[in-house]
Amino acid sequence: MVVQALKDQGVDVVFGYPGGAVLPIYDEIFQQNEIQHILVRHEQGAVHAAEGYARATGKPGVVLVTSGPGATNAVTGLTDALMDSIPIVVLTGQVPTFMIGNDAFQEADTVGITRPCTKHNWLVKDTEKLSATLHEAFHVATAGRPGPVLVDIPKDVQFASGTYQAPQKGGSRRYQPQVKGDLEAITELVAALETAKRPIFYTGGGVINSGPGASQLLRELVEATGFPITSTLMGLGAYPASGTHWLGMLGMHGLYEANMAMHGCDLMINIGARFDDRITGRVDAFSPNSKKVHIDIDPSSINKVIRVDIPIVGDVAHVLEDMLKIWKARGRKTNKEGLAKWWSQINEWRKVDCLKFEQKGKVIKPQYALKRLEELTKGHDRYICTEVGQHQMWAAQYLNFEDPNRWMTSGGLGTMGYGFPASIGVQMAHPDALVINVAGEASWLMNMQEMGTAMQFNLPVKQFILNNERLGMVRQWQELLHGERYSHSWSESLPDFVKLAEAFGCKGILCKDADDLDDAIMEMINYDGPVIFDCLVEKHENCFPMIPSGEPHNKMLLGEASTKDAIGSKGAVMV
């Protein structure tokens, strides 16, 4: 019955790990070929793989794990998916209903434990309700603001037979979030847009979640209005990095021009982002002189952190469509004169060239490694995952994303160990694509067991490890904020990654000389199978620009070499 429900929901792959409490479902899986089961090496890996799959396809990812430890191992992934609004459906086995509450073997209060880290969860005590609940789970995971859901299925419920109900069209009637935005508010937004002197689009993961149509509409809107656009970490790719109006990512490690424009704008149009603290910096000094518009499908995102002037609850694609329609009908007006001045100001900020670095000598700068990776992979059908740390921020800064759904990174939770299993999920969804996980050596070790999965299922994922032998991001904070007391931020006793690769049966590449880098990257790309690329980089490189936490956008640190410029151009903020 479970497998039938999954088939009817269009599921073609399940990431999972068996155990006593899910054996009946595994038995069903054994007796069919339509749904492929990917055996991971740790349940956390299954959930991240499902997240990667979901983000690369827009379809929900599916996970199947056993009760007790299987379920608790899934908790990090569930929380990650909740923070980043990723639709996944996790099925957990549970001890039989008559044993629940007895501290039975491998019993855990799974719905209790996962209640705060799922969008919704269910314990199914009656086989008659199983199929309907599974369909409802898919509906809830994907409708409105997407998120993870969990269905806990006791073993006796799996064994018992019941009547199967096929899914209803449109999901249940009880959960139907609003998708159309209020036309009055949208008209108000259009009016603001027509007169704004210093407007900016600030976009986020909501654009990606709203589907490819939303990205298309966003592009049309940006080109037609000529407004500058920046994006959060989560929203990269919705607007192409090669687009002329692109300012780059904003936020704590965002680009100078993007953050300065956010600080100095007079109209901020937030599309599917949530004023996260990595974006706003100090809230009371956040973009002090702007009128703020917030488009979000989740009413609770609005006025949670930043008080906005024009709130619009709705799905991004629907709202953008209405907005374009109204704007065109009113004569496609913008404040041309104001915009021209605004762009010349922005171009001044761009001259700071905040991402510049110098590659001198043989020691590879991490920025250089990513620049070369970008250069050598940009023509490919490419998907990028990351782990968490400095390498993640550098990847966001130095790699260019032209399309949505090609960038998977753990934004909200910042989960080290996310990227490798996520890359496995992405590769499952796109078997012929070039899937690269930009990793830090410390993060990568957190889920390295998944190399077994990649090998078993012939998934040629490339693990591009920027190995600084440091918990780099931690070390950076200790340097800047804790008097250079580097408490436990070394990666000691690292494995020999090439030998590790050999042990798994995949390819290992070591590169420690900038002159060899291009060849080594080409070797990685051309190898038909998984690769662990150990790229030894400068150990004490810091990630800039950086807004120290608790500071406003115009208090950005631009790096050791360019701190003077930052102070010099500070006056320019006071537009």
């Binding site: 209790g112 979030p177 989740d298 609770s300 949670k304």
Partner: protein
């Protein structure tokens, strides 16, 4: 400046009004939340309050529609207007929540609470307790030679006042139900 209006009927999660002008003064609001009467729904609501650091002054819950499997949770909470709006929006996100009503802003409403008081005493104190109970229209629901259990219904302030008066007269124990509230007038 326009308020965010999610029109009633446009969604099951009805009637938020995100007022754009917030003050920093704490307010007391009574919320009525209509939920599916299913396992775990109360845990979700309470978990939301504890997880996000909101206050609960009083919370009551009971099934109100057996056929429709609906329960009504009445929550009295305090917070700045921004926090109150957040609470309502967060409640609205919970999947089994059908409606969130802020009785404090949606027009006049009535609030009632029931309480039981056990008062022990003899002589003058006992006579005085009985006399005050009469003034407050509290009923005696149990009596021994040296104690009473009073039942009192009213607005929470009335019950507070009664408790203050009973304390010096030998108040032993109090049990309160928490607030039940409805909007006044004909409309639901």
């Amino acid at each position: 400046m326009s308020a965010l209006q999610i029109k009633k009927g446009s969604t099951k999660h009805s009637a938020y009004n995100l007022r754009p002008n917030f003050s920093d003064v704490e307010e007391r609001h009574t919320l009525a939340v209509i939920v599916d009467n299913e396992a775990g729904v109360l845990a979700r609501v309470i978990g939301l309050f504890s997880g996000r650091g909101y206050n609960i002054e009083s919370l009551t819950v009971a099934e109100i529609d057996h056929a429709g499997h609906l329960s009504r949770i009445t929550i009295v909470t305090t917070g700045t207007p921004q926090v109150i709006e957040q609470i309502k929006a967060q409640l609205g996100r919970i999947v089994p929540v059908h409606e969130v009503h802020d009785l404090t802003v949606e027009g006049a409403s009535v609030e009632r609470e029931l309480a039981l008081f056990k008062v022990e005493g003899t002589g003058d104190k006992r006579v005085e307790a009985l006399r005050l109970a009469d003034i407050f229209r509290a009923n005696v629901v149990d009596s021994t030679l040296s104690s009473f259990v009073f039942e009192i219904t009213g607005a929470p302030e009335k019950i507070d006042a009664f408790a203050e008066l009973m304390r010096p007269l030998g108040l032993l124990e109090v049990a309160r139900t928490g607030v039940a509230a409805l909007s006044r007038g004909g409309a639901a």
